[in-house]
């Protein structure tokens, strides 16, 4: 019989998933990181989430910044509630007790204070100062153990904050149930913040690094997508349905349209019609088939203009919320934040048609490009399981005369369907061409087709004889 431990929701977006369900009630944790990493913000965020849930917090400091200075900096954060000070949460300094009575004095004072405050969460800011007061490692162990046991006795969870990285073998590291490290780092010229659960007793936390950011809501953590979605959140139940691409003639070329719940990659050089094809695809949105444009290039206003110029006005669909336009400028982005934002927008509206313009936006956000294949696998598996039909673009250099390259090795394996757009200079004009390279488990045309702009956006020109698309290749497995 597996027991499930009672958990305390951290109130920090993304952190509970990383911790394997939140902090364990009555357990003790070390939150470590250099000054400025966000330890104080994190612990206060957890504290105020506890107060909002009707619980009580004791916040102990040892020679930290003065409390009114702390309140001043916390007052810039949305979770901070000055009204709760002194009742739901009490901040006290025990520095003088440490100086006058040593570690034992602090322990005695804490025992009384935890009970006086009826605290279910104790934050102890300044473990390093206590450590410096200790004469031996055994003193540190005894100190941590005494606080732990007193807190656990009344079901109180403890967060010890410290500004140094504890060694795995250190006294405090061996004593506590969990260790969370906050860190800021540099990749190339950009800085980024990452956290790691270095120890997690009785909890299946998500190992490795997870990026986080600090904003006015405090800390938001972004669990690594391929770790948190190692398995899809819902069971994938594929159906043999097809959805229209919204491009005249393309459904026939693909053997009957886009397989529902599939991922289609549209590759092509700049100006070959990738975004236009996506707009055609989105134009089929309805209340039953909500659509989402998740883009990195055109802001919504320019995208609407582009759609109108194609004869596919999106104004009404956007106003009626059949289409949502989400734009992340191609500046510094956090890979997992993008993915979580995308999935949140999909789940929130039950999106059935998704256009991602383009995958390069994710690639540019990746600090560790080697992750991309597993990242895209997790993302596309989840989209399929959610029943989303996705069209995504990938920009290629001009293909004239050059060998065709797929975006990256292995990426083809996470896609179901592959379309290639291209320009051909015939001498008299530059023609646009489209070819269907792959449709998972389906026959499809194997010819190059002309791609033209009509008054309804893009269209695939059928063969002139009889208007049929000839030569459907034999079905190929994905």
């Amino acid at each position: 019989m597996v027991e499930h431990l009672a958990r305390l929701a951290s109130g920090v977006s993304g952190l509970d998933a990383i911790l394997g369900g939140g902090f364990v009630e009555g357990a003790s944790y070390i939150i470590e990181g250099r000054p400025g990493a966000g330890k104080t913000i994190l612990s206060n965020q957890v504290a105020f989430a506890q107060i909002a849930a009707g619980r009580r917090v004791l916040y102990i400091t040892l020679l930290a910044e003065t409390h009114d200075r702390l309140f001043q900096s916390l007052s810039t954060l949305t979770f901070f509630d000055r009204e709760k000070l002194g009742d739901g949460i009490k901040y006290v300094s025990v520095f003088q007790s440490l100086r006058d009575e040593g570690l034992d004095g602090v322990v005695t004072l804490l025992r009384k204070e935890i009970q006086r405050q009826a605290a279910t969460l104790l934050v102890f800011d300044g473990l390093l100062n206590a450590r410096e007061r200790a004469e031996t490692d055994l003193d540190v162990k005894t100190f941590v153990a005494e606080i732990q046991s007193q807190a656990a006795f009344v079901g109180c969870t403890v967060l010890f904050l410290t500004s140094t990285r504890t060694k795995d073998s250190s006294a405090e590291h061996t004593m506590v149930d969990g260790v969370i490290e906050l860190c800021d780092d540099i990749a190339g010229v950009r800085s980024f913040r990452r956290l790691q659960v270095r120890k997690s007793r009785g909890s299946r936390s998500l190992g490795g690094y997870h990026q986080y950011e600090i904003g006015e809501d405090g800390i938001v953590a972004f669990p690594r997508l391929e770790a948190v979605l190692a398995r899809t959140s819902v069971e994938d139940a594929p159906a043999a349905l097809r959805m229209t691409s919204g491009v005249d003639g393309l459904d026939e070329a693909m053997g009957g349209g886009l397989p529902a719940g599939s991922i289609t990659l549209v590759m092509g050089p700049p100006g070959s019609g990738k975004t236009s094809l996506g707009i055609n695809f989105l134009s089929q949105a309805s209340g039953e088939e909500p659509a989402l444009h998740f883009g990195f290039y055109e802001p919504p206003s320019r995208l609407m203009l582009k759609a109108a110029s194609l004869g596919l006005d999106m104004k009404d669909a956007v106003a009626s919320e059949a289409i949502e336009l989400v734009w992340h400028p191609l500046t510094e982005n956090i890979l997992d934040k993008l993915a979580h934002h995308l999935l949140e927008a999909v789940r929130r509206r039950g999106v059935k048609r998704l256009f991602i313009d383009g995958l390069g936006g994710f690639e540019r956000a990746a600090i560790h490009p080697l992750r991309l294949v597993t990242f895209f696998a997790a993302l596309t598996n989840e989209l399929r399981a959610l029943g989303v039909t996705t069209v995504a673009t990938w920009e290629l250099r001009d293909l004239s005369g050059a060998g065709m390259a797929t975006p990256m090795p292995d990426i083809s394996s996470v896609l179901d369907n592959l379309l290639l757009l291209n320009h051909v200079d015939t001498g008299a004009e530059v023609k646009r061409l489209i070819s269907v390279l792959k449709v998972r488990d389906s026959a499809h045309s194997s010819r190059n087709h002309d791609l033209v702009f009509t008054d309804k956006g893009l269209a695939v020109v059928p063969d002139e004889i009889g208007g049929k698309l000839p030569h459907v290749a034999h079905p190929r497995g994905g």
């Binding site: 009114d68 309140f71 006290v92 300094s93």
Partner: protein
């Protein structure tokens, strides 16, 4: 020149205020929390008490209530200095002679102290 007790768990603030008052010619004793403060008040009988609100073991409010309840300490003025609970202190006008929000102006504090000492 009077004996003043400063009760504050944050020793940097207690020290800063104590040194300022010493420079002004007063004698000052400090206490790290309400329990010690009350004990020292009974032993040393200061002319005035300045206390923080949030302290371990006994808050500034509890300290003021204990002073009020002790007939032997009748008339001892208590000034509350608080980072967050000035409003709570002001609701208890019967307990506090003055309420200052941290951070406060030292000259204003000095004026209040001198006013209370000369009135006493």
């Amino acid at each position: 020149m009077a004996l003043i007790l400063v009760a504050d768990d944050e020793f940097l603030l207690a020290d800063m205020l104590a040194n300022f008052l010493r420079d002004e010619g007063h004698e000052v004793v400090t206490a790290a929390h309400g329990v010690i403060a009350l004990q020292m008040i009974r032993e040393r009988r200061p002319a005035l008490v300045i206390t923080d609100f949030m302290m371990p073991l006994m808050t500034g409010l509890e300290l003021a209530q204990a002073v009020k309840a002790d007939a032997a300490l009748d008339g001892l003025p208590v000034i509350l200095v608080s980072g967050a609970q000035g409003s709570t202190g002001r609701e208890h006008g019967e307990l506090f002679a003055e309420v200052f929000d941290k951070p406060y102006d030292l000259q204003a504090m000095l004026a209040a102290i001198n006013g209370l000492l000369s009135a006493g």
